[in-house]
Symmetry: C2
Subunit: 146 residues, 2 copies
DNA sequence: TCGATTTTGCAAATTATTTGCAATATTCGC
DNA sequence: GCGAATATTGCAAATAATTTGCAAAATCGA
C-alpha cells in the first residue's frame, strides 16, 4: 500500500507517461472520495472547466491498464471507478437496492474460504481476480420499509 | 426448480402477459444453451428472421423483471443473460482472461461463509442477492502460457 | 529554453440498448 | 372457431455511455 500523489507521478513517469493536469486531478479525486465514482461524477468533482470529460475517460483507461484504478460495474448503465487494491485495502460493496448508497465491506469470503485453491484443484482454472458485489437493503431503508 | 417451456407459458399467462413467438423462442434458447449469452447471440441463435433484436431485448427485460432471467455483466461492454437461480442451480462463473471462455462453478463462498448473517450483524445491511465472477486462466490457456 | 513527443479539447463516431408508433399477433368471451 | 379488445412486434430513430480523429496545447528531456 503506497501513498501520496507523488507516488503516482513517479509511477507514470517510470512507465513513460506524462504527469498532466487531467491525470493528476483525476487521481486527487479518487484518492479523496472513498467510494466508486462514475466518470461523470469525477469530471464534475474536478471543478476545472479546462479538463474535458474525454480526458477523464482516457485517464481512467490508462490507470486501469496500470492497475492503479479498478472498474466497478453495478448494473447502473455507467461504470464506476475506484483506487485498485494496491492502494486501498481489498474490499467489496454493499449496494442498497432502495437508495443506491454504496458501503464497503472488508470481509472477503473468496479469500476466507480458500475458494481459489478449491477451484484450481477441481477444474484447473487459475483464479487471478474476482468481482463480488452484494445487493440488498441498507439499515435506514430497511427501517423505512417497515 | 421448475422445468419445461410450458411452465414459462403458464407463468407469463398468470402474470397477464402473452405467450408470443419472440418470448417463447428466447426462452428456448436460454434453456438450451448452458452459458450466459449476449442479446445479439440469442438473436442469432433464434434463426428466425421474423423476430427483431428489439423484441429480444424486450423479452429479456420482461423476464428479468419476473425473475426468470438473470443479467450477467463481465465487463465486456455487452450484458449477458442466463436463466435465473430458480431455474438453474445457483452458480458463479470462471471467465478466462485469455480466451474468454466461461465455465460454471457451483461452489458459493457467500453462502458457505455465512457472509450474509455476518454483514447483517455488523452493519445492519440485509443482503438479498450477490454477484460473484471469477477471472483468471482456464486450464488450456494456462498450458499455452508456459 | 527548444524541439520532439505526448496529451488534450472538441466534435463527431461508435456501440449497446431503448422507444414511438403503426401494423400484427394473441387472448378471451361467445 | 370468430372477432373485437388488448398486448406485442418490427422498424427506424433516439439515447446514453464511451471512444476516437485531429489540430492545438502541454509536457519532457537535453
Amino acid at each position: 500500500m503506497r501513498h501520496g500523489i507523488t507516488h503516482f507521478k513517479d509511477l507514470l513517469g517510470g512507465e513513460g507517461y506524462s504527469w498532466t493536469r487531467a491525470r493528476s486531478a483525476v487521481l486527487t479525486v479518487l484518492t479523496t472520495v472513498p467510494r466508486p465514482l462514475r466518470a461523470e461524477e469525477i469530471h464534475r468533482a474536478l471543478r476545472d472547466p479546462r479538463i474535458n470529460l474525454s480526458s477523464v475517460y482516457r485517464a481512467l483507461r490508462l490507470f486501469e491498464s496500470l492497475n492503479v484504478v479498478h472498474r466497478v460495474e453495478l448494473g447502473e448503465g455507467a461504470a464506476r471507478y475506484e483506487l485498485a487494491d494496491d492502494y486501498r485495502d481489498h474490499h467489496h460493496h454493499l449496494v442498497c437496492d432502495a437508495c443506491g448508497r454504496i458501503e464497503d465491506v472488508a470481509a472477503c469470503p473468496v479469500e476466507a474460504a480458500g475458494l481459489t485453491r478449491h477451484i484450481r484443484k477441481r477444474t484447473g482454472f487459475a483464479v487471478r481476480s474476482h468481482v463480488l458485489e452484494l445487493f440488498g437493503l441498507c439499515r435506514p431503508c430497511r427501517r423505512d420499509a417497515r
